[in-house]
């Protein structure tokens, strides 16, 4: 019962973070800010969602598989973001300058 409630909490907050990342990727003004939004939530969202799923099955093979998936996503997510940011910077894409016109 407690485990179900905790799992529901983790799953819902994971879903919320994933959604926030999506909104950020859509509404942010520039490539670098969009990358920031999506990559951070790509680490936190899966941690919460897969953790919530792991609580559902207790200690078993599925939990081990979920942990392996999570570990894999945590290792490759930031690497892909780094490679993307580097490629964008090398090709000359500059961050959008903030609007400092007034005051």
């Amino acid at each position: 019962m407690v485990i179900d409630a905790l799992s529901w909490l983790l799953l819902t907050s994971g879903g919320l973070f994933v959604l926030i990342g999506g909104i950020g990727a859509l509404r942010m003004p520039d490539l670098y800010t969009r990358m920031h939004a999506s990559s951070l939530t790509d680490s936190l969202g899966p941690m919460l969602v897969l953790g919530g799923l792991a609580l559902q099955t207790g200690l078993s093979l599925e939990t081990l598989k979920l942990l392996i998936i999570l570990l894999f996503m945590l290792i490759t997510g930031p690497t892909a973001t780094y490679a993307l940011g580097n490629a964008a910077a090398v090709s000359g894409l500059t961050p959008a300058a903030p609007d400092l016109e007034d005051n």
């Binding site: 879903g15 969009r34 899966p46 969602v49 979920l66 998936i69 490759t76 997510g77 973001t81 490629a87």
Partner: protein, 93 residues
Amino acid sequence: MYVVVSFAILLTMCMALARALLGPTVYDRVLAVNMFGTKTVLLLAVIAFFYGRTDFLDLALAYALINFIGVLAVLVFIQSSRDRSAAKVRGDG
């Protein structure tokens, strides 16, 4: 319980698709594909639990691998095509 999460993930996938359609530079599209890939992994895991078929988690792992390799491949090819057009402009190669 899984319905709420899968709904959130599906909405985020729609947003990633919108970014892939809109993004002015090619890097925006690569970002959108990467995001779409990680959301697919999550959705696969959630639906596997939803249907009760937990032996389908192998697909999520395979998909996470393929997504990473795909994004790196795209970046290498974009860079090499820029190098090649720059070399052509310079006159060698």
